[in-house]
Assembly symmetry: C2
Homo-oligomer: 219 residues x 2
């Protein structure tokens, strides 16, 4: 069983200090929501992001969307051998049941995240997604993996297929992929740093490489 953690993901409600920024107010109005209910999105809140610390990397629910769409529709997940978690800025953790069908439409996915940050659980009956206050380290203490790998530009280089073989040697390995567009992890975690390519890769590309190569090793 592979535990895949998308960590320090840039998904969050619009922060307090830009709630009155015109880019945010107009966007919320257009969508019929209150400014404090909408998820920060760099495509639409670009002007407001300039006022935020780390503004050049925040507001990227699209990265999480791509990672989840790929992970949950993978052969590995269909075979019941994958658990996916999304850890976000401000230390929330989203638990996702393996049978969840993530909305294909981006706007609906954002709507789902808004509902999740508001209600902590969606949908109320099936509880496919659940949001809890938790740091990355607390999540790892809970999962209790027998190995922790951090996908990192400065990690030890390893061919993707060799990494699949390495993962196979553990019963419950955890692989941590950064859910941000560039820069480094903000959370401090102990683990073996691994790099799969000579250049930085997008989060969803790493997700695909890890999942397919783990499948090849275990099936």
């Amino acid at each position: 069983m592979l535990h895949l953690i998308i960590a320090d993901s840039e998904v969050e409600p619009v922060p307090k200090n830009i709630l009155e920024h015109p880019a945010v107010v107009n966007y919320a109005k257009r969508r019929g929501k209150k400014p404090e209910e909408v998820i920060l999105d760099s495509t639409y809140h670009h002007a407001a992001l300039k006022k935020l610390e780390d503004g050049n990397r925040r507001g990227r629910p699209d990265i999480v969307h791509f990672c989840l769409i790929n992970a949950l529709e993978s052969i590995l997940n269909k075979e019941g051998m994958l658990r996916v978690y999304v850890h976000t800025r401000n230390d929330k953790v989203i638990y996702i049941k393996p049978e969840t069908r993530i909305p294909r439409n981006y706007n609906r996915f954002v709507g789902l995240m808004e509902s999740l940050f508001k209600n902590k659980v969606v949908p109320p009956d099936l509880e496919l997604l659940k949001l809890e206050e938790k740091t990355l380290n607390q999540l790892l203490e809970e999962i209790k993996p027998d190995a922790v790998f951090i996908m990192h530009e400065q990690g030890e280089f390893m061919k993707p297929k060799d990494f699949g073989q390495l993962l196979k040697q553990f019963k419950e390995p955890a692989v941590i992929v950064g859910g941000f567009p560039h820069g480094d992890f903000k959370s401090k975690v102990d683990g073996v740093k691994i790099s799969l390519y000579k250049e930085p890769l997008m989060a969803w590309t790493i997700v695909n490489e890890v999942i397919v190569n783990y499948e090849n090793a275990i099936f």
Copy 2:
């Protein structure tokens, strides 16, 4: 070099006979476009789709978006060993330069497709995407692959890693993946039908499996 063709993709401008449907008219108005300029989208034109032949599978630019986001950010593409083509309903072919950075935001991607269907080339100077009238067979005649594989539910079962090894035996193999949500290809093409899993897979999942396993075979 792998030639990846997303075929019979459900991307098209809104067809004539539903241009006056309220679902289409309101959507176009909201986006500040003419109804004939917008791309059919099942999320927003659901009511209108019921009036169309094959209405239950049409209007899926999201599938093409996921396939392109994965393919173009893959290690294979970064290494210059991938060419991607999108063939659509009504026999258009979209050529995509390998260096293209597809918009991550879905709404911007749809805007790009609208611009492409209108102007045949985007952006005017770099010509990263180009649209031509062409059948799937005409595209294959042009590419001249030395093998053609069709990813198909009823194809010969092969483990994904074995399929990677098979592809490696050719210099310029073409792999055809259906760019539709369910059902069969509408185009008739000769090729070896291959199935990678006992259940149907999403188009982007097949794209990921094919690309990563081809990488593993050739690198």
